[in-house]
Symmetry: C2
Subunit: 201 residues, 2 copies
């Protein structure tokens, strides 16, 4: 175990993430985070001056993980030359991921942030915007090549279609949360891939 | 103006809806709702015994409006006999609606309810489930006929595809909220209709 406090800091962030996703940010108190992380007030405030500072650090960590998930999908299809196959392989990568990683009680931190956006500072909500735009730029580039190859470059807006993957993820999380099941995420990612297939394959 | 308190009750519900959608339910106090609705403590508690009672009434009202929006889309295509055209007409109805009705600061009450689900009672979160299942059942019936007509009845899960409209709406709301613009809702509903068109038309 590292003695520099890294483990404690991560434990606090993990506990806060779960509480924020389950109850929202405003409804979660510092005391609840301290209790759930099994740490102390002194230790908490050593790492984070305020709940706002914790929220910023947490959203930053979440966005970094999200963008590295994007990079993994891009890496998975980096060697695929056919533009249509590249799009479908990219989507299949996340379909596979949903089967492996999403659990029944998983939720997305972005939902809490966007629901309470007006209570949060620009740094926190701006990080979510950065993530959405990051996915849009990369996925739209893949889509543009495939749409052009099918003569649909002018008909379908590649940016909107790219953002539709965000809608699919968030809709999947909301359905999982509603029905307390991991199945909807799998179902939503599969149906989105099938829809894209219907359009470009 | 009716003197029976109906107008006051609706004004309280309207103010609460806006506050809940903007800041979340837990973060909104009864005092804030009273101030935003320009009413009094006495008047508030005449209509609602607790914030919980108000939340239940509000979510019920929202679900009723949502299900009547579903009914309008069904009515709009009731006379269309071709199953593929019926599905596309149904989706075009909401595309048109987005152009007319969604504003830059509109949000969905379901996002607040599902984000804070574990803080709420089963009556409140159950109402959202009822709405999602209501849309699923009706839209899936339209989809099943169209998928069968195209020989896709076994390949594509009609329930998941029906739920994808929920994902599209919620994703649209989240994108509108992120970018403070009404355009994403239009874009997401259009792209979903184009995707369905690609699959079944």
């Amino acid at each position: 175990m590292p003695r520099d406090g890294t483990a404690t800091k991560e434990r606090i962030l993990d506990a806060a993430e779960k509480l924020f996703e389950t109850n929202g940010i405003a409804a979660t108190s510092v005391d609840q985070i301290i209790e759930a992380s099994g740490t102390s007030k002194g230790s908490f405030f050593h790492h984070f001056a305020t709940k706002r500072a914790l929220s910023q650090a947490l959203v930053e960590r979440y966005v970094e993980a999200d963008l590295s998930m994007l990079q993994k999908g891009l890496d998975a299809v980096a060697d695929v030359t056919d533009p249509v196959e590249r799009v479908l392989g990219f989507l299949r990568y996340y379909e596979q991921w949903a089967v492996e990683l999403v659990s029944a009680d998983s939720a997305c931190l972005y939902l809490a942030v966007l629901t309470e956006k007006d209570l949060l500072d620009d740094t926190t909500s701006g990080a979510v915007e950065r993530a959405i735009v990051g996915w849009r730029v990369e996925f739209a580039a893949l889509l543009r090549a495939a749409l052009r190859a099918r003569g649909l470059g002018r008909k379908v807006n590649a940016d909107d279609l790219a953002d539709h993957l965000f809608a699919t993820f968030e809709g999947g999380y909301l359905l999982c949360r509603t029905f307390r099941s991991a199945d909807p995420m799998r179902g939503q990612l599969r149906v989105f891939r099938q829809l894209v297939e219907g359009l470009i394959a």
